[in-house]
Amino acid sequence: MKVRKHILTVLIYILLSVWAIMVIFPFYWMLLTSVKSYGSYNSEYVPEFFTLAPTFENFAEAFTAVNLAQYFLNTFIFTVITTAVMLIVIVPAAFAFSRLDFRGKNIVFTLFLALMMIPNELVIITNFQTITDMGLRNTFSGLILPSVTSVFYIYLLKENFEQIPDELYKAAKVDGTSDMKYLLKVMIPICKPTIITIVILKVIECWNSYVWPRLITDDEAYFLVSNGIQEIRENGFGRENIPAMMAAVVVISLPLIVLFIIFRKKIMEGVSRGGTKG
């Protein structure tokens, strides 16, 4: 009985380790390939599993031969503005739903929830036309505007706002505090963890967004990293320079991995509360 249990434990660790290797290996491989020189990469028929002569020439190549820095900067601007504008839109909305009484509140809220079920694919066609008609193709406004609202985040925040006891609000009212001041000075600080979670999830979403930017930009000056990497794959670096390509992939993947290492707990908690992917 005891032996059987030990064997089972060993099997469990083997299973877990095998999958861990499967997960890590692509990351290791991209890092490894990015520090191999073009010549040595192409001369290895059987690729080496480590290199003793790492080189950083590929990173230099990635930043000079293609506009990687530009893509990077674009994505950064896009992410920051989208997230900031989203907060300005969703926080007051969540406040109105959780704290204010008005006619038609329930109907409007139900309508909002119903919109949550609408897949992006259904509305993207018209949005493409709208943005094109407004002449906003290849602009940051065109990239940002359609993705600044999220019904789901309004819902998440509203639930959190509602947990703040009524007495606080009444006390503030007696003291003559305005709604806006109460929202900024009391509710937002109390709900900071939820707001941080929402921000992180939105940043991940922005950093990885591909479909909308691809539709709305064909000028390289406005490419985000996802489109940039696709461009690099199809037209960049002349002769299939895979080490340089991998250097670009490393640079693109790094910010989110760093963010993940810093906010590991917050991200995992946030995703299990509100993330969907796949």
């Binding site: 434990t9 877990l16 890590i24 409007v108 609408i118 493409f128 990885n208 539709l215 299990s272 796949g278």
Partner: protein, 296 residues
Amino acid sequence: MKKNSFKAWLYLLPAIIFLGVFMLYPLIDVFVYSFEEGYNSASQTYFGTGTYNYEYVLHDPYFMQALRNTFILVIITVPLSTGFALLISLALNSIKKLRMAFQTIYFLPYVTNTLAVGLVFMILFKKTAYSDGLVNILINMFGGESVDFIDGPYWAKMFVLCFYTIWIVLPFKVLILTSALASVSDTYYKAARIDGTSRWRMFTKITLPMISPMIFYLVITGFIGAFKAYSDSVALFGTDLNAAGMNTIVGYIYDMLYGDSGGYPSYASAAAIILFVIVLTITVINLMISKKKVHY
């Protein structure tokens, strides 16, 4: 009361404007588009209304191919990824040492850029003039023949696509299932152990029923997600998916809208509505099954 009401609408105004312009209006518009025949996006005119767009899409070989690819992808990846995620979560739940380390590693694919890491998968599986690629060399070591997984036979490409899709979706599922398993109260197991219940019986009679709502949640979101597959395929096979024979329904919609074969918002709309109907049907079926099977 009246003053308060006005203020509330003011707080809601930005959200309502954005949702109205970019969600509600497009939602109505997409149905209109899908019935307008011969719509020209440059002159914004059309000949008449009818179901021609739907007929065109349903007779388009590229759409049928996209439909077939998507269905194969869904049928393979949803059960496999859910089952595998359950296995990993159970294993994680039964250990103490290194548990956090494993959980952290498993989560990594969630925070990666699908397009970027797709390139790594491409070079691992691709056969080039210089090298057969790492995966093929492994296959050769076990006595198999090299296959070009990226430009080769259909089943090889489908295999890579499914593999990459599972790799991408697993973190979310493992995360949800491990927290579901951790929330099952220990008292049930203690009681069962006193009764001398076997491990397998404990799993089927306690664990599974307790986490069944989460499993069904994952199956439903898994189906929806897999039906919308697109960027994984682009990451592996490039933007010209029709030529690669690996297009998906969503890819078809975007190709119709924009790109080399683009400029047909009406066809795109019809395809989008067909996709929506398929997803809705599957979700309703799932919900009906879950009503019968899930213990709350």
